[in-house]
Symmetry: C2
Subunit: 313 residues, 2 copies
């Protein structure tokens, strides 16, 4: 198994990527082959400094970097030697089986959607956030930002994409799918959710349990929570802010610790043909460690293959 890791992405690049890689190699009995993509000299020195066993990894030189604030489409086109462009080139040509970056999110999406492309039958790929549940389990919320405007059928497809992700990566058998809405009863909601409810209800490939409300997000009512990317993004960022709030208030609590987005392992781009994982700019070493594990699990469980199978038109 070959995984490409962008060493130049994130606010603390390449240090935190190196730390995450170190943890991953130390904790894995059979680690994947990691291709470290970035400035060769800089990366090699840091790997040596951190005593990362370089025999287990390969460094792929990329002489350019796409900055966090560059216009994504333009930068992706005009910087073919950037770590992100090199990574997608390797992924598209089969040299790696999955690609991870905490770099420019827009450029990662451009690469995922235009270089890797959506799986046939998937109308709109989505990004998903994990949501800590009060009972200790993990839920999935999608879309959290890729599709600010959606059609009912998009939400229906998110139900299936999220279900396959929950089963393959989080080992949730028969995940409960809930439609995020403003009331529990069928018929509640805006024009979009009223129509999406009908599609989800008729979808035989998922375990649809009906509407859920804002108060159910942290409860275990649904494992997969479906919404358009506008609401999802607001809920995600609000939830992330709770961790900062807890820190400010000196509240030390395990549940709130699980909101620490510095540690969260990024989001896959669900519905594109190969495993792509996008990290938060603020990703810590622990986040990089979790992203490598996420990519590993996506590849190992053949998530993209299963999505391809289920969405075959």
């Amino acid at each position: 198994m070959n995984i490409g890791l962008d060493m130049m992405g994130g606010d603390f690049a390449p240090l935190e990527a190196v730390k995450g890689l170190h943890t991953y190699l130390a904790q894995s009995a059979q680690p994947a082959n990691i291709f470290c993509i970035g400035d060769e000299g800089h990366v090699k020195n840091l790997l040596l400094d951190h005593k990362v066993p370089t025999s287990d990894i390969k460094i792929v030189h990329a002489g350019q970097v796409i900055d966090m604030h560059e216009q994504a489409t333009k930068a992706f086109k005009e910087k073919p030697d950037s770590s992100i462009a090199v990574g997608f080139h390797m992924l598209a040509s089969g040299k790696i089986d999955g690609f991870i970056s905490a770099g420019n999110t827009g450029a990662m999406l451009v690469g995922a959607l235009y270089s890797i492309k959506a799986i046939a039958g998937v109308q709109r790929p989505a990004i998903a956030s994990i949501v800590p549940k009060m009972n200790g389990s993990t839920g999935i919320l999608l879309d959290v930002g890729l599709n600010a405007d959606c059609k009912p059928e998009n939400l229906n497809q998110f139900g299936l994409l999220g279900s396959l992700y929950a089963r393959n990566v989080f080992d949730i058998e028969n995940p409960k799918v809930g439609l995020l809405n403003v009331g529990e009863e069928e018929g509640k909601g805006n024009i979009l959710t009223q129509a999406a409810f009908q599609s989800l209800k008729e979808n035989r490939d998922i375990n649809f349990i009906g509407n859920i409300e804002g108060r159910d997000v942290f409860q275990d009512k649904a494992d997969v929570m479906v919404c358009e990317g506008f609401t999802g993004n607001i809920v995600l960022k609000l939830a992330e802010s709770l961790f900062d709030a807890a820190k400010q208030l000196s509240i030390d609590n395990n549940f709130l610790h699980r909101f620490n987005y510095e540690n969260v392992g990024g989001t896959p781009v669900l519905g594109v043909a190969k495993p792509v994982v996008i990290g938060h700019g603020i990703s810590s070493g622990n986040a990089f460690f979790n992203m490598i594990r996420l990519a590993e699990k996506m590849i190992f469980s053949n998530l993209c293959g299963e999505i391809t199978e289920k969405f075959r038109p």
Copy 2:
């Protein structure tokens, strides 16, 4: 000043309304005249039990009650002697200057929109929630559920309705208005918020500060936070669930206590011609106390008159 209080509304009626009234009378130097609307015998006995000085209040008998789960429009029409219908009749005819109920929300909205009616120029009345801010101040989020689908101009009007509410009731001079969105920069968002941004930017009657994100909801970036009722309702219910979560986790904290919706003093229906306050079904005595104070402040500050003035077509 005459305020009508529905004694039969809420999960613990009429007990919690009596407790709230008792606190209000005890704490007010110059209390308003309170008209207690409900079953006369039942209410009178409870008032005596709780040593509420009945000289300061008037009991208005209403022989019917609209239950929490009744179909609102039908019940409002078919139960003219219900406490809610009697209250709106008194409000419409000028016998009271404001009306409060924690009863059937739908029936309260029917009364507000069809018996009291929207102020000329207000396209869509809205309901607003108060949002505790980390710095101790109070923000306002609207709409939180009345309008699941909105047009850009509706959001623009919510900016002005919320500003007048913030100034008149919460004494916030020149309140900062933020548009709840998925990015900070102009141009971000879904079709609705992209268009609403332009209207808000051109609105000379408000202090528009631009987009805010989910992470800004509990920060003091904006005093008035504008969104359609779908997103607002999900954010509100999610925020309310934080208080339950904190209780479950045995986290005792002043900031989280401010999320205790049992104590929150209801929401006004902003944009209708007279003060109407709707309470949570679960309202405690303290919530009723806060609702009476809210109605008092709305009447005293002439909020509806100012809205009428500002929206005059």
